[in-house]
Amino acid sequence: MAAVRTSSEVALNRIAIVAVLVATLVFLAPIYWIASTAFKPKELAVSVPPTVLFEPEVTPFVRLFTKRVQMQKTVDPQVYEAAPWWEKRIYDGGERVLKVGKDVQLSQYPDRFMNSLIVAVISTVLAVGMGTFTAYGFSRFKIAGEADLLFFILSTRMLPPVVVAIPMFLMYRAVGLNDSHIGLIILYVAFNLSFSVWLMKGFMDEIPKEYEEAALVDGYTRMQAFFKIVLPEAATGIAATAVFCFITAWNEYAFALIMTNRRAQTAPPFIPSQIGSGLPDWTTIAAGTFLFLLPVAIFTFLLRNHLLRGVTFGAIRK
């Protein structure tokens, strides 16, 4: 900052800060709209004028998790009284919860959410695991055509998903991997591997090689030095890379849309498919979207110091 600050500079600074606050509100408005719609009574989600302040309720989440049908006539008062609070909310909306015997039938949402979790976690572990070894190899050893190999690795990340999906769909169909968790996991590992190699290479390059050399002199084998010296040093980098890979796999849409439709379908293609025809129930969609976005929002805060590195494949650090 300049040593002497004129009054116009101070004023300019204030204007800039106000502008930042306004911009932040504008950027957060759509996210606020998702979060608030998830807690709105059904009719307030599509009110004119749009409702900003209201008494929040969790009924959309009850609807999200249950299978329901429209009721032909009003509910028997005795049945209503005996029902738990959440079921009353469904009765209040003129619907009833479907049951098999006494068991409430769940909607497909929890299944799809679990699929997302399974596929994202397993593919992340594999991509980061393989990526860490490979990044160490590229960081420490002499490799013929290193720059070309690294370019090749990165270029696989840049392939448009639909382009890769056409042959993969045919191959999966031939071996019966369509609509399977394994099929989707393989695609996500392939997609995230290049990212994980590049990002981990940046972290590995930052670990002084003197650490391992000292260990080698002390009688460690290189493998021991890698596991006992390098890996603990790289822990932060591994964690950041893992979170990035998780978010990418969690958010992925095109592969999931093409490769899965029922058993292994993840949340991103499932949530839009709920729109259906006629007037969509935006509160239930918002509830599903809200739960789906929540982990990513939390991870973004945990990752905040590594975001720059992550989005530039490790090329630019702070």
């Binding site: 502008a19 070894f133 849409y253 949530i271 979207t289």
Partner: protein
């Protein structure tokens, strides 16, 4: 750099004799990844290159025939496909230009110290971390002509953003600008914070105008990183599928990736889709090459 670790260690020394050799470890660490990528990325592409010369249709069982370059010839002379490319170009220009302006503008505003700067920066970065398909879907409600908050706030009445053929593409681009301006902002902030303070101090002593300082000091020093953001976003915008696909069905917003998806998985014109995929692939690889070139340039600094 990479070779130093090896040359330090005398191959005949006791340390080198213990355990696996460095060569074994190197191969063990690197080869599985390369094999994996070749099997699941390169091999499928060779497979589809083969199909691009046939009239294969994945939903029929009749045998396919070799048709030579016919698919490519048909595609390149198909007005429909050309219009998809024109739509994609429009989309890329509008959304990337918007992101560069909004993102760099935000970075200029944020490039000063104020309370809770870290928190605000992180909040601004939230949109780009979220699933484009799922968030894009929800923008349908925001844009809704009957009860959307956007039309209400701007007094646009019942303007149908997403079902109006003239506005659908730009509505998607606005959502994309909302999502990805933070990306440009993040990179620009890094560029701005790397500008040496003494240059600004010298300019202040010389009583240089704000504009002079901006065009002669700030822009030239930030431009390499801005270029990276520009190329990366251009490549991503060119490939856009999910956000446009979940937001609108307007033919005027049919980007090339959506066209490819429909041709491959709705019309099941597999052979021709493989050919179109190759045309798209070559364009993407050209941009990737450019991107890596500039990425390495910035890295060396």
């Amino acid at each position: 750099m990479a070779s130093v670790a090896l040359t330090h260690l005398d191959p005949a020394s006791r340390a080198a004799a213990r355990g696996w050799s460095d060569l074994t470890i190197r191969n063990l660490f690197i080869i599985p990844t390369l094999v994996f990528l070749i099997v699941f990325n390169i091999f499928p592409l060779i497979y589809s290159l083969g199909y691009s010369f046939t009239n294969f249709a994945a939903n029929r069982s009749e045998p396919w025939q070799f048709v030579g370059l016919q698919n490519y010839r048909e595609l390149l002379s198909d007005d429909h496909i050309w219009s998809n490319f024109v739509i994609t170009a429009k989309y890329v220009i509008v959304s990337v230009a918007g992101q560069m302006i909004v993102g760099f503008g935000l970075a200029l505003l944020l490039n000063r110290s104020f309370p809770m700067k870290g928190l605000i920066t992180t909040l601004l970065l939230l949109p780009m971390m979220m699933s484009a398909a799922v968030v894009g879907l929800f923008w349908q409600l925001l844009y809704s002509p009957s009860w959307g908050p956007i039309n209400y706030v701007f007094g646009l009445g019942d303007f149908a953003w997403l079902s109006n053929p003239d506005s659908a593409l730009y509505a998607v681009a606005i959502t994309d600008i909302w999502m990805w301006s933070p990306f440009v902002m993040l990179l620009s902030l890094a560029g701005l914070s790397a500008v040496p303070q003494h240059l600004y101090e010298a300019a202040a002593i010389d009583r240089a105008s704000w504009w002079y300082t901006f065009t002669r000091i700030t822009l030239p020093l930030v431009s390499p990183i801005l270029l990276i953001a520009l190329i990366f976003r251009t490549m991503e915008a060119f490939k856009t599928f999910d956000i446009a696909y979940t937001m609108t069905t307007q033919p005027t917003a049919e980007l090339i990736a959506i066209r490819l998806y429909k041709q491959a998985f709705q019309q099941w014109d597999t052979g021709k889709s493989c050919a179109l995929a190759y045309i798209v692939l070559i364009m993407v690889l050209a941009i990737t090459n450019l991107y890596v070139k500039y990425l390495n340039k910035v890295k060396e600094r």
